[in-house]
Amino acid sequence: MTAVFARLPFDVPTRSIVMAAALLLLVGGWQYPQFFSPPYLAQQLQSGAFLGIVAAGAMVVILLGHIDLSVPWTMTAAATVATAVVGLTPEVLVSEKGVLAGLAVGAAVGAVNGFGVAYLRIPSMIWTLATNNVLMGILVYFSGFYALSSRPSPLMSMLGSGRMFSIPNVVFVWVAVSLILLFILRSTTLGRRIYMVGTHEPAAYLSGVNSRGVLVAGFVIAGICSAMAGMLLAGYAGQSYQRMGDTYLLPGIAAVVLGGTSLFGGRGNYSGTVAGVMLLTLMASILSIMQAPEAAKQIVYGVVVITMVGFYSLRERYS
């Protein structure tokens, strides 16, 4: 895990999670044979893709040693703005301006988050909490005053709910986001600098890294990922709606951490995040299908996270 640029991306957390996920599938499949049916697996991939895109952004911020709590309302804001713009200009291709507007919202929120953390030096946990509240305030204000259209653009619908070869399109988006992120983290100067700033920001500054710029860039990436997830979710649900991101914040962070990324920053592999997303998605789905009561679900989540993360840290210590 320490070898950040190690050749094989499949590290211990990834392998452990993949094993855990396979176990879940097996146990689930034993109870419900439909688990191995292509529609079910495709459905899991689709659910996972939204979380996966959120987690991709969360991972960048966590690699920087920070946290982004503004995910829920960034998602909602991007989706709402996107559909509102679509509503203003409903012509077929022109309406895709909405997608650009949504991405711009995500980037702008990320820039504000990054500004507070990098320039004002406010702890990210507090600053992003505040920006999240402000975003909610802005949305309540505007959607309360104006009848904003909630209809997604054709592109959003196509990517969010369409399928190709019976694989949900959103999975392709997730794959694309993953490849881009993997490329950024492994092969670009920005990726290197993200790891450096996350490892130790003073050292990064003393090494000539513009650490503030890197922080802002990291939060912008996260904001764009949240925005994409929000717009895709609007495409999936056929509408934008308030509080659409509430259920993605904590699972997004949990997926990253389950994947072995350190919350102190600087350490972690993207493959683990992907595996973490799949595990959480499967778990949620299986517990839901089993009709487990909410209390049991929460307890199972907690126990799984403690067990897995505890396993990594103890393993690292005693190996």
Binding site: V4, F5, R7, S187, T189, Y195, A203, G208
Partner: protein, 529 residues
């Protein structure tokens, strides 16, 4: 294996002679994974002596001390203390048995007061079981007065606010107040300024005379010669020899430590051409009350040292030049034009390149968990990237040249840099900055805590770079280095240049005299010997 008890006859006057050793180690071994740090070490030390432990970095001294202090547990062997089996499980446990260690990394708590730190392990309590602040302050003052530094330190201040040297004093006071049977100092004097050294050495002698065993690790040969009764030399995890101080020549000692002889530590100096234009010229540098109008110049090809007591503004001069400080007054010019850097990043490109090698490689110089490769190319990765995409091939070429130039010994460049030894880590820090091809190189204490072999390599490298036309400015706490390495030394006192020494004037005596801001130097360390 060391000849036992040979040195008894020659033990110095004042050291108590005792028939049985206080501390006895037999067959101690320690390995981390596959790496052997200590191998079958037998070692005795007696009460009432100052026992120096010498060796290169990685020789196993620190591991040995950590075992004694209860920080790590040996894989083999047994220890007896005062005739009883001793196997501590933690520093607290060790302290209860009477062994207290002062580590190289300071263990004062920044956010607690001096008094709280000194009484940290066993604070006085009120009847309610709460900490009695008044008595605590009194105890702290008492021990500081006993050490002869009571007038210098206000026990109610937070340690965060003290300069490094004073924190080191607190660290020692913290240990002394516990009246240990065995006091271990692991490089614990390296941060002391000259004025603080004397009270500490006096104190150690007094403790010795009271029967304490003092185990002492230092890279400062003077100190060892001045202080120690007995020396033990370690090499590659084994105990090579124990001898009474003074019975071996410096050359012999170096040879024992290295396993080979050291021809000459410092490379020869060479003459700077006075006609060249200065690379760096600083006028009237002021900052925050700590720098009070500094003027200086550095020529290409010259190594200029900054010396003086710790905390007189030497570091701040270098930091001000590199743009780390804010609100700096005066002018800083490189190649005759003003330099207004906002940090080390501004020295990487352009036609006025400078590089700052920071003080602490663990804190400011390296990304410990990241790969050696990523560390080496941190400041220069833009040069082999297009549109932000790194070319692995171009990077590999650069890295290979750097490894070659500095002779960095690394098995696998993709391993984390923290797997390297301290000396090689320091080489990585220097290498990454040389890769930016600076014309001005600023270094802060680059050889601190490094073994003598690597030190020598670094000295040679710096000299070679100077010959190639670099201007080098180095702040060092080691007066040997100022004398041996530098062409010129500026002695800083209270934010001003007290003296500029060069040629024959550049002697340890003159440095000390000026560092203390005295006409004469009454407490010079030569005088103690």
């Amino acid at each position: 294996m060391p000849p036992p008890m040979q040195y008894l006859e020659s033990a110095r006057e004042g050291a108590l002679i005792d028939a049985a050793p206080l501390l006895q180690l037999t067959g101690i071994g320690k390995s981390y994974g596959g790496v052997v740090a200590l191998r079958d070490v037998d070692f005795d030390a007696r009460r009432g002596s100052i026992h120096a432990v010498l060796g290169e970095n990685g020789a196993g001294k620190s591991t040995l001390m950590k075992i004694l202090a209860g920080v790590v547990r040996p894989t083999d062997g047994a220890i007896s203390l005062d005739g009883e089996a001793y196997s501590p499980t933690s520093p607290a446990d060790a302290a209860r048995s009477g062994i207290v260690c002062i580590f190289q990394e300071l263990s004062v708590i920044p956010d607690l007061s001096v008094a709280a730190n000194i009484c940290l392990a066993d604070p006085p309590r009120t009847r309610l079981g709460l900490i009695d602040r008044k008595r605590q302050a009194q105890m702290a003052r008492d021990v500081l007065w006993e050490m002869g530094v009571g007038q210098d330190i206000d026990v109610s201040r937070l340690c965060r606010q003290l300069p490094l040297s004073k924190r080191q004093i607190v660290e020692i006071a913290k240990a002394v107040i516990r009246r240990p049977k065995v006091l271990i100092l692991d490089e614990a004097t390296s941060a002391l300024t000259a004025s603080d050294v004397k009270p500490v050495t006096d104190l150690l002698r007094r403790l010795r005379d009271e029967g304490t065993l003092i185990l002492f690790i230092s890279h400062r040969m003077h100190e060892i010669e001045a202080l120690a009764d007995v020396c033990s030399i370690f090499r590659n995890g084994t105990h090579v020899e124990t001898y009474p101080t003074g019975s071996r020549s410096s050359d012999e000692i170096v040879q024992l430590m290295l396993g080979r002889s050291l021809t000459q530590v410092y490379p020869p100096k060479y003459q700077v051409h006075a006609t060249t234009e200065p690379n760096l010229s600083v006028k009237g540098l002021r900052w925050n009350g700590k720098l009070k109008g500094i003027d200086l110049q550095v020529m290409p090809g010259e190594i200029v040292g900054l010396g003086g007591l710790d905390g007189q503004g030497q570091q701040e001069i270098l930091q001000a030049i590199a743009g780390i400080l804010r609100g700096v007054g005066g002018t800083i010019c490189m190649h005759g034009t003003p330099l207004r850097a906002r940090g080390p990043g501004d020295g990487i490109s352009g036609d006025r390149r400078f590089a700052l090698v920071p003080e602490d490689r663990k804190y400011g110089g390296l990304f410990l968990p990241l790969s050696i490769r990523a560390n080496l190319t941190a400041p220069v990765m833009d040069t082999f990237a297009r549109f932000g995409i790194i070319s692995r091939k171009a990077e590999a070429g650069t890295v290979a040249r750097m490894i070659e130039q500095l002779q960095i010994r690394a098995e696998n460049l993709d391993h984390p840099v923290e797997t390297l030894s301290g000396g090689n880590q320091q080489k990585v820090v220097i290498a990454k900055w040389l890769a930016t091809k600076p014309s001005l190189l600023l270094l802060i204490d680059p050889t601190r805590g490094i073994d003598i072999g690597t030190k020598q390599e670094i000295y040679r490298l710096l000299r070679r770079l100077a010959e190639e036309g670099l201007a080098i400015m180095i702040y060092t706490t080691d007066y040997d280095e100022l004398v041996g390495l530098c062409d010129r030394a500026l002695i800083i006192y209270d934010g001003c240049v007290r003296a500029e020494l060069a040629g024959d004037d550049l002697s340890e005596h003159n440095i000390l005299k000026n560092a203390l801001n005295l006409g004469e130097a009454p407490h010079s360390r030569e005088a103690q010997q």
